[in-house]
């Protein structure tokens, strides 16, 4: 295999069908089809609707990626695919397609971890990771803090959410405030017009008693309940809701905890580079607070552009590329997808 193999990556863990081509750390093309419009009216992702869309989008998305990069399938050196975590039905479509490509092309197959892909994609944007980086992966499905010594072979999960993911909490609060689904971007937009210090909402797992066991874990479920209770009280009292202030104060509570714990982890592990990935890294308050706190702590902050933070094939091709170059053995054709794949599994 060439020193810099051409890796085709397939991502189908949720509602986006993503196909990308990566050579080394260079992204050749990233094609995505989304079924989000079909889910919006249901107020959440419907796995069966997503699975049907993945089946119909798979071939057109592969063809679009190949066409835009002017690459023939015969040039592909390896196939990478999300093996988990995610929704079983959608994951199954991607893994089946990837296996078929591997069999049809006679090329090795690599099933990789979606969450670690969210961190790895930054290598396509900002270049290879230094020796040790901290990665905060935050999305509608995940909130994880990872110590990355080698993205292909050595990743340690320092903490994660015990209940709701950060993006999930935003979607739920969005619903509470009567905003359209998905609530995250709407809450963010509203929050920009509000005062983040207007209401002091609780910061989950920051009490002294939580530091021993949950220093780097997150919890947003109690915060969501606190917002609901606050809103109820105001409504019962017949007062108009200061929607923008509620959104801004809620976002502040989420972002404050995420960044404070992440910076503390960087200090504790003597890490001076922080990567933030996942769809929730589009959040403007998170970006601002992370930038301010990293500057203050002398930590280099790397956040890829938003289009690489949402689910896409590039993140999977990027991790596949790293795994291939690390000399890891290919996955067996009989691997099964794992909806709750632990972060100790980088590849299967």
């Amino acid at each position: 295999m060439a020193a810099d193999p051409l890796v085709l990556g397939i991502e189908t863990s949720c509602d986006e069908t993503g196909v990308a081509l990566v050579r080394g750390n260079e992204l050749l093309v990233d094609a995505t089809a989304s079924s989000m419009d079909e889910h919006a009216r249901f107020g959440g992702i419907i796995p069966e609707v997503a699975s049907r869309a993945h089946l119909e989008s798979m071939i057109p998305t592969i063809q679009r990626a190949l066409g835009e990069a002017d690459v023939d399938l015969s040039q592909v050196d390896a196939v990478a695919v999300t093996a988990g975590p995610g929704l079983v039905g959608p994951l199954t479509i991607g893994s089946s397609a990837a296996k078929a490509l591997a069999v049809g092309l006679g090329k090795p197959l690599y099933g990789v971890n979606h969450v670690i892909g969210h961190a790895c994609v930054d290598q396509l944007v900002h270049g290879p990771f230094p020796e040790r980086v901290m990665a905060l992966v935050v999305s509608g499905g995940h909130s994880s803090l990872l110590l990355v010594d080698d993205v292909a072979t050595n990743v340690t999960e320092l903490g994660s959410t015990l209940d709701d993911a950060a993006g999930e909490a935003f979607d739920k609060v969005g619903r509470l405030l009567g905003l359209p689904y998905p609530g995250g971007p709407h809450v963010d937009r509203l929050a920009r017009e509000g005062d983040p210090t207007a209401i002091r909402f609780p910061r989950g797992l920051t009490a002294r008693k939580d530091q021993a066991e949950h220093a780097y874990d997150f919890s947003f479920s109690g915060l969501k309940t606190a917002v609901a209770r606050w809103v109820e009280n105001e409504q019962d009292a017949g007062r108009p809701l200061p929607l923008a202030d509620v959104a801004a104060s809620f976002a502040e509570a989420v972002v404050d905890v995420l960044t404070a714990k992440t910076i503390a982890a960087c200090r504790a592990h003597d890490v001076d580079t922080l990567v933030i990935g996942g769809g929730f890294s589009a959040n403007s308050q998170l970006r601002e607070k992370a930038a301010a706190r990293c500057a203050e702590a002398g930590i280099e902050l790397r956040i890829p552009p938003i289009r690489y933070c949402t689910d896409n094939g590039a993140m999977i091709a990027a991790l596949g590329s790293a795994v291939v170059r690390a000399g890891v053995a290919p996955s067996s054709l009989d691997f099964g997808v794992d909806s709750s794949m632990p972060l100790t599994t980088i590849h299967v």
Binding site: S51, R52, L55, Q63, L73, A100, G106, E193, D245, D334
Partner: protein, 265 residues
């Protein structure tokens, strides 16, 4: 040169047939959940058994159901993607058609006879379709059937109650796993007596236990699926690989909470 055929409508079946329809290699495992784990290795296995490589494949065939969704999609996305990788055509054939065609051959049915195929749709329902035999041995030696009702999905007793009798002198047989799963509905006493029009073999052929015990097919045979595809292609038919779901996704649109607030944006 060979055609690879895949059916994941119930179990996982893979076959390689030569361009003349003869079986070169086949595998079937009675796996109802982990289709995606089993299928790809089985494809590699049949190629190895037949002493062929992927470059020898001239087309890929897939059973289009109707079937439980997740397993069905594994076969379809595998067939489509494999065909793309190989640069060969992909053809779809309803999985129930393969059962009907095999029943015609195995049970010696003749033109005018009819076959009711019923498979397991879970949720106490069956997928079903009814066929009329056009030729016991059609072009390329493969039986020809026409679909006269279905494919559809429903409770076994409702499906049985909705069946019209076969034409006078013709036989109606019930085959497929659904017949064995719901014998009370899909065996002779439950169907109207005149459904088994004609007198020849009616009692024998009708009974689900005979079907299960004897030669009648219960599951689609991937090799038969390939033969049907080759026959239909030779006749110039289009063979789309769209899945026969027959059911909508189980979802309900929520009643949107009215915005009960004022102020803000």
């Amino acid at each position: 040169m060979a055609v690879l055929s895949i059916d994941t409508s119930a179990a996982v079946g893979v076959a390689l047939v030569a361009d003349d329809g003869s079986r070169l290699a086949a595998r079937r495992v009675d796996e109802r959940r982990r289709h995606a784990e089993r299928l790809a290795p089985m494809i590699a296995d049949v190629l190895a058994e037949a002493g062929l490589t992927r470059a020898d494949l001239t087309a890929v065939v897939a059973g289009t159901g109707p079937a439980p969704f997740t397993g069905l999609r594994v076969g379809l996305v595998t067939a489509r993607t494999l065909a793309l990788a190989l640069g060969v055509p992909v053809w779809g054939v309803p999985s129930l058609d393969a059962i009907a065609v095999e029943a015609v051959a195995d049970l010696g049915l003749t033109p005018g006879d009819e076959v009711l195929v019923a498979t397991d749709a879970r949720r106490r329902e069956v997928y079903w379709a009814r066929y009329r035999v056009r030729a016991h041995e059609g072009p390329r030696g493969v039986p020809v059937v026409e679909t006269v009702a279905g494919p559809d999905v429903g409770k076994a007793d409702a499906v049985a109650a909705a069946q019209d009798p076969a034409a006078p002198g013709a036989r109606l047989v019930v085959v497929g796993e659904g017949a064995a799963l719901y014998p009370d509905a899909l065996r002779s006493p439950a169907l109207p007596a005149d459904v088994m029009a004609g007198d020849v073999m009616a009692g024998d052929v009708m009974a689900a236990d005979v079907m299960a015990a004897d030669d009648a097919p219960a599951l689609p045979d991937a090799a038969v699926l390939a033969r049907v595809a080759l026959q239909r292609r030779a006749a110039g038919q289009e063979l789309p690989t769209e899945p026969l779901y027959l059911r909508r996704p189980d979802v309900q649109e929520p009643v949107r909470r009215a915005a009960t607030t004022t102020g803000g944006a």
